[in-house]
Amino acid sequence: MEMKSDRRRFLQQTAAIAGVAAGAGLAAKAGPAQAQGNNVHVEPPRRGARYSIDHMTHYTPLHELKSVITPSRLHFMQQHTSEFPEIEAEHHTVSIYGLVDRPLRFSVADLKRLPSVSRVHFLECHANSSLAIHGTGNENMGPPVQYIHGMTSSSEWTGVPMSVLLREAGVKSTGTWIVNEGGDACNFSHTLPTGKAMEDCFIAYAQNGDPLRVEQGFPIRMIVPGWEAPFSVKYLKNIKVVDQPYHAWNESMNHSVARPDLGGKVRWYHFQFGPKSIITNPSAGLQMGAKGYNQITGIAWSGGGKITRVEISVDGGKNWRDAKIQDPVHTKAHTRFTYDWDWNGQDAVIVSRATDDQRELQPTLAELGKYWGIKMDEWRQKEDKPRAIHMNSQQPWKVNKDGSISDALFA
């Protein structure tokens, strides 16, 4: 109880510092509702949160969710400012210029007049599941599955295809890249290949049927399906069509990593995510039910397309059996799986692996290390763990005899 009120106080303080109602959806008020007993949902799932001078992070409570749709208020967020921009939708516009025949400016109302699409897609931070974050959580960040892997979420986004807008502006043949720029305090910018924009990107104005939330870029944001989320620029304001990648600060600095397989050089423009899955229940920090039937559930997703198979091992990856994939299965979206497990009450290591429709299989940490040229021992070390992004390696959880569960990635 004390932990909760501490958390609430922390959130209220940070909200006050940020000058916004960051606590919306976070601090469930007890009070009258509580008196009505179990019929009322007085403690809805909470976002995990971490705030610093130049960053705000919200983590999705993956272990508390049952749908392929993440409730909008629980969507993860990684914001590169200390406050949200307050944008008036009726005055907000997006301008398309640069290497186009007809530079154009669209209001939000204009965008809503154009042909729309609604698609379910995941968004994931490039640094989600970072190795360095294992074992570093605090009470505001939730259990490990939330703070290690909770920077991925899945929503139904509605908006205008970039192919429609770029056709209106008329992209010149030299316009092979575009730069998207947001209207937040840092004017966040990111490069995107025009080819990808024409394929399946769109400017969204709605999330799960509602207007975008302010954390998600109100009034409009880019959606770049299957790619690391920094491509999906929020508070979208300008789209400049250019003739080469612009290496904006965020993509060449923050979001790039030196790799031994490249001779210590840096691979930039990691585009799509590989196949990935996480067992969300049971998972570290939670408690097993009694010996016997325990359903294993979780999510799988891939930047490459649809999830076609999820396998479960309850012996640390020696033997694998198919999990049930639950409909609906959307492309480049969270997909749910279940596995009926008869737990014998003994120590066990449970782990999942996903395959996508490109026939790519989710790697183990050792396999991923091999691709990157990083040795497991280097990744195990406590200090100066080599940084890696796009971590899609398998996540084993150790189920202990006493019903407790721990993180077994480095075991």
């Binding site: 530079p103 080819g195 600060w249 840096v266 280097e378």
Partner: protein
Amino acid sequence: MRSLLKVLAPAVILAFAVPAVVSAQSQGRLFPDVGKPLSEKEVKAFDRIIGPDGNALPVGRGTAKEGEVVFVKRCQVCHGVNGEGGILRRLTIGKPGQPYRGDYYGPNQDKMNGVSYYPVPTIAWDYINRAMPVPNPGTLTPNEVYSLVAFLFYRNGIINEGDVMDQTTLPKVVMPNKDGFVPAKPVYPPEKKPSWW
């Protein structure tokens, strides 16, 4: 009759004059009545997206000496003296005359925060101009941004103390880590399979 003409005349003018204007603007458009055309002048007024060619850089100039004055006032509180480390990112990795040339792996990964890491010089201008200083981005003049870039490049050993940074000289600065990124020229779709590695 006269009153009818009064009404019709503008309509006739519109009928002929407007399509002539619109056709240049709306040719090839499927939704010509949605959105507003932007003139070159309007674009120039708001465009702050600067690429490696430096084409969109505004007119201005600055030196390291001038930049130091601005840095002390606006930046040092977070980035430390000479950008050598404060509460936020350490910007200076090299020394005057001695640029840092890598590596950036493992224990050296924090050095990625430094200006020496940028593959192209225009990133410094673009980012300082769009996002700095943190409480009030957009409050630096072009001359101040040029001088801050000059100061940071000088402290990182990338240019000499007396070098002037302006819209012509800045894009030509050779960065010590210019070959540190692969592929040298990113392509889409990526050539390597699977593309998610």
